[in-house]
């Protein structure tokens, strides 16, 4: 199969790669860029664990082809720390016990952070809606929702 050259900025770094047209963005991120923090758990858009930001928009990377993101900016869980410090959403996840097995955690942190950028003081319903496409089997979601609310501007610090 003929390959296409694509150029992508991922977590601030520029990558140029030749990819087959059928390669998904998820495969590209995990296999070609070696960014394994983004997880694969269904490959059909049901579980949302592969959520990354494409030009700042939360996107299920298993449903997008790598060639479609040519020239775009990708942010994954590996690109979320603020220098050597955890970002507020990451910190809140730890403080609230919103992490258990950790397999879904990257997706929730990516999507939760994107929500707060767009809507710095969301309601509980808005948080549930924003991460409603991501599955977690361990936590029961309560502490995840609480963590995102706590990291928001509206939270009483």
């Amino acid at each position: 199969m003929s390959k296409h050259k694509i150029s992508v900025r991922a977590n601030g770094q520029l990558y140029e790669r030749d990819v087959e047209p059928r390669r998904t963005l998820l495969q590209f991120i995990r296999e070609d860029l070696g960014l394994t923090g983004t997880k694969c758990a269904c490959e059909r858009g049901d579980c949302g664990l592969c959520t990354v930001l494409v030009d700042g928009v939360p996107t299920k990377s298993c449903l997008v082809l790598a060639v479609e993101v040519d020239g775009k900016e990708i942010t994954t869980i590996e690109g979320l720390m603020e220098g050597e410090e955890l970002n507020p959403v990451q910190r809140a996840f730890i403080e609230h016990g919103a992490v258990q097995c950790g397999f879904c955690t990257p997706a929730f942190i990516v999507a939760g952070g994107a929500l707060l950028k767009r809507n710095p003081s969301p309601t509980e319903e808005e948080v549930k809606e924003a991460v409603g496409g991501i599955l977690c089997r361990c936590t029961g979601y309560r502490q995840i929702i609480d963590a995102i609310l706590d990291a928001s501007k509206g939270a009483k610090k």
């Binding site: 394994t36 664990l49 016990g97 496409g133 361990c138 936590t139 029961g140 979601y141 929702i145």
Partner: protein, 780 residues
């Protein structure tokens, strides 16, 4: 005391890696020359394999090994050696792998699988668990009598019954005669899937010199090593099993699953590492799932509320292979009553093979299934004698001093189910006046109690190694895996408390590796904090003993006068007699330079105490290291038009002995509740008439999302410490998920007046029950 971590919500020690995406899971590992596996799976539920032609697949460039069942005659199985890694001779369920290909890329492996041709001759199948028990039913395993099995498993040769557990206590017929009211009911739960977010993933390498290396998403590395060794006939020390972080297990990754397959493929491919990642679809119908369940229960009680007799008939739809199913059958059998004292009991619990996907452990190990039946029955019997269901439960509660079904007298420190029930009653406002209708929806409340002990062999053991480092910090090695439950964090708290040092100076090794890690039986059964905790405390004692022995010589102070705290060994009240732990880590040094002692390595172990085998005919004996008791209460809202059920509130109380880490504990409870709600209201395997699973993906098989959680979840810890437990703790991993279904079902009755006997209580089932009730009313 300067450092106190007991009862504190210490953040989990693995959190940083997990929030930054740096935590590595098996599927994140890459090895030079690694090959990728794809499986050819059976489209038929029960069929003879007439011929397999792999010629075309083998010719495809990039294919390095093609394996079929005939080449892998090894039998595996934790309690019953009934399973080969690839179907051999015949297929026993739709989705069973028939051939496997290892190739340079997944794409090549996938193409090769499509080139394999299999000829089948379809056989009549056993697709209904009750029919599978009848004489003349198609046999799933014709040669069952030849299978190696654990001594406490009782297969019935010439049938599909893989285990028949019996319990007999008192005289059940006399008990029924003594009763004023006797009721009998049937209950049903379908097969479901654990739906761990990480699917089963294994990498295996079998080198030409006989060394086998495995990296795998397994809960129990030592069980993998043992079962692989027995199955393949390979010496134990030639096998090294590495387990990195696990993306959820919930029982489904206990024991051995696909490790032998990747190892055998590797051997055929000349020793290259071979990886298998189950697709989500395969996770549903190729790998292990939860057994289906049928119960018929007959219970009798006196008008004053005392239960006189119970007859429990449990049938487990094991699917094609027994795996943990036979032991679930046993555990549910000896716990069959739920947390109540019943003087006269008869229980028959049977594992039955069918042509369904094979069953295994799933959080609760049979207890969510049978508690649905027993706790519904408690409500129905209370109603039949005209007593409040809470009062009825309290009257029969298995409190200290009372006798369990296996004849165990509950100790004074056994935990209090009555306190759990009362706490939940209070939390959901049981018996208080509340509106029956809110915005056209019907509201109701329900309660269910529970108990569970770890199901494990009587001499199960755990060990721990605590290493003193050169800077005075310590490193704890245990082999209980981290799959989200947080045991390693709790253990770090215990070590920091015992050594009186900052928790930041306690490291718990995250990776498990059988070549280096101390032995533990398995990461299952809610036993981790109790058993690894006791082993860890023992290792701390041993480490202290070692440093005190050396320090006594160096300081010239008798050993018994020495204390360990704040990273020093010292004599109380004598500031001159003190030495930093750091100075003892590799060896002590006398002022003249002579060395004394050596590297400090604390070792500790714990072996389950007081357990015995159960009598094969009566089931009498001591199966329980500890009972964790609990109660759960639901408030639900039923939509009379659509049958939609929404859980408004869920309250849970468990006698956990002592809360080590309330933050992580809360996570276990909330997570268990929501998992249980999924099972109660939406999850179920739907098969066609030939045994093909129709909803093998997360579009058609829904689990709870953020929108499905209760408005309010309340957790009330009850803390009656267990005498022989580390800091008094009891296991809690499985329990929050056990009595969700009956609590909701009982609440649905309270709300809408309908009695449900089948799970899930989805819209269709509830709607039909509501209509039926309406009809009855119309014709009455």
């Amino acid at each position: 005391m300067k450092y106190s971590y007991m009862g504190k919500g210490v953040p989990r020690i693995d959190a940083f890696e997990k929030v930054t995406g740096t935590a590595l899971y098996t599927g994140d590992l890459r090895f030079p020359g690694m090959l990728y596996t794809k499986l050819l799976k059976s489209p038929l539920g029960h069929a003879r394999i007439v011929n397999i032609d792999t010629g075309e697949a083998e010719k495809l460039p990039g294919v390095r090994a093609v394996l079929i069942g005939k080449e892998a005659p090894y039998k595996f199985g934790i309690y019953m050696g009934d399973k080969t890694v690839l179907a051999s001779g015949k297929v026993r369920h739709v989705g069973e792998p028939v051939a496997a290909v290892a190739a340079d890329t997944e794409e090549i492996a996938e193409r090769a699988v499509e080139l394999i041709k299999v000829e089948y001759e379809e056989l009549p199948g056993a697709f209904d668990v009750l029919k599978a028990m009848e004489d003349g039913a198609p046999l799933v395993h014709e040669n069952m009598s030849e299978y190696r099995h654990a001594p406490f498993i009782y297969p019935k040769s010439g049938t599909n019954i893989a285990n028949h557990f019996k319990l007999r206590k008192g005289d059940v017929e006399r008990g029924f005669k003594e009763a004023d009211v006797v009721i009998e009911n049937e209950f049903y739960q379908p097969q479901v899937q654990n739906v761990q977010m990480e699917t089963h993933t294994s990498i295996g390498q079998w080198l030409p010199n006989g060394q086998i290396n495995i990296w795998t998403s397994a809960q129990s590395p030592f069980a993998v090593r043992h079962l692989l060794s027995v199955g393949l006939g390979v010496p134990l020390h030639k096998i090294n099993v590495v387990v990195p972080y696990l993306g959820g297990g919930f029982g489904g990754k206990a024991g051995l699953h696909w490790e032998p397959l990747v190892v055998l493929l590797s051997k055929k491919a000349g020793g290259r590492p071979v990886r298998l990642v189950m697709t989500r679809e395969e996770q549903f119908y190729t790998t292990a799932v939860r057994q289906g369940f049928y119960a018929r229960i007959k219970t009798g009680a006196k008008r004053d509320g005392k239960i006189t007799a119970g007859a429990f008939f449990y049938v487990w739809d094991a699917g094609a292979y027994a795996d943990y199913g036979v032991n679930i059958t046993r555990a549910a059998g000896y716990s069959c009553t739920g947390p109540y004292e019943i003087p006269h009991i008869k229980c028959d619990s049977l594992t039955v093979y069918t042509n369904h996907p094979y069953g295994t452990a799933y959080r609760g190990f049979g207890h969510p299934e049978f508690h649905f039946a027993t706790e519904r029955q408690m409500d129905l019997l209370a109603r039949a004698i005209g007593m409040d269901p809470v009062e009825f439960r309290l009257k029969n509660a298995a409190v200290p001093g009372r006798i369990t079904a296996t004849g165990e007298k509950l100790r004074e420190d056994a935990g209090r189910v009555d306190e759990c029930i009362k706490a939940v009653v209070e939390a959901i406002g049981w018996g208080k006046k509340a509106p029956k209708e809110v915005n056209g929806k019907l509201r109701g409340k329900g309660i269910a109690a529970l108990w569970k002990a770890p199901a494990m062999p009587s001499s199960t053991s755990s060990s721990a190694i605590l290493k003193l480092n050169e800077d005075g910090s310590v490193t704890l090695s245990i082999s209980s895996t981290e799959m989200g439950q947080g045991t390693p964090t709790g253990l770090a708290q215990m070590v920091a408390d015992e050594l009186q040092m900052p928790i930041e100076k306690v490291k718990v090794v995250t990776k498990r590796e059988t070549d280096f890690s101390p032995y533990t039986w398995q990461t299952v059964a809610s036993r981790g904090l109790f058993m690894e905790g006791n082993a860890t405390l023992d290792a701390v004692r041993n480490l202290k003993e070692q440093v005190k022995t050396t320090a006594a010589e160096l300081l010239g102070v008798p050993k018994k006068e020495l204390e360990v705290a704040e990273e020093r060994v010292f004599a109380l009240g004598r500031p001159d007699k003190s030495i930093p732990l750091a100075k003892l880590a590799t060896a002590g040094i006398f002022p003249d330079g002579r060395g004394i002692g050596g590297p400090v390595l604390g070792y500790g172990y714990y072996t389950a105490e007081g357990l015995t085998n159960l009598d094969p005919e009566t089931g009498q004996g001591l199966p329980a290291l500890m009972w964790t008791f609990g109660a759960q209460g639901a408030e639900v809202e039923v939509d009379p038009e659509t049958g939609d059920v929404r859980v408004v509130k869920m309250a849970s109380a468990f006698d956990i002995g002592r809360a080590i880490n309330p933050l992580l504990l809360k996570g276990q409870v909330y997570g268990g509740i929501v998992q249980g709600i999924g099972s109660a209201l939406m999850e179920e395997f739907i098969f066609d008439e030939r045994g093909a699973l129709l909803n093998k993906n997360l579009t058609d098989y829904k689990i709870c999302r953020t929108q499905d959680i209760p408005e309010e979840m309340v957790f009330i810890p009850i803390e009656n410490p267990q005498r022989n437990a580390p800091h008094g703790v009891r296991g809690i991993g499985e329990h929050p998920r056990i009595s969700i279904e009956p609590a909701i079902a009982n609440a649905i009755y309270d709300a809408a007046g309908i009695d449900l006997f089948e799970i899930p209580m989805n819209r269709e089932r509830v709607w039909r029950a509501l209509r039926k009730k309406g009809e009855k009313r119309a014709f009455a």
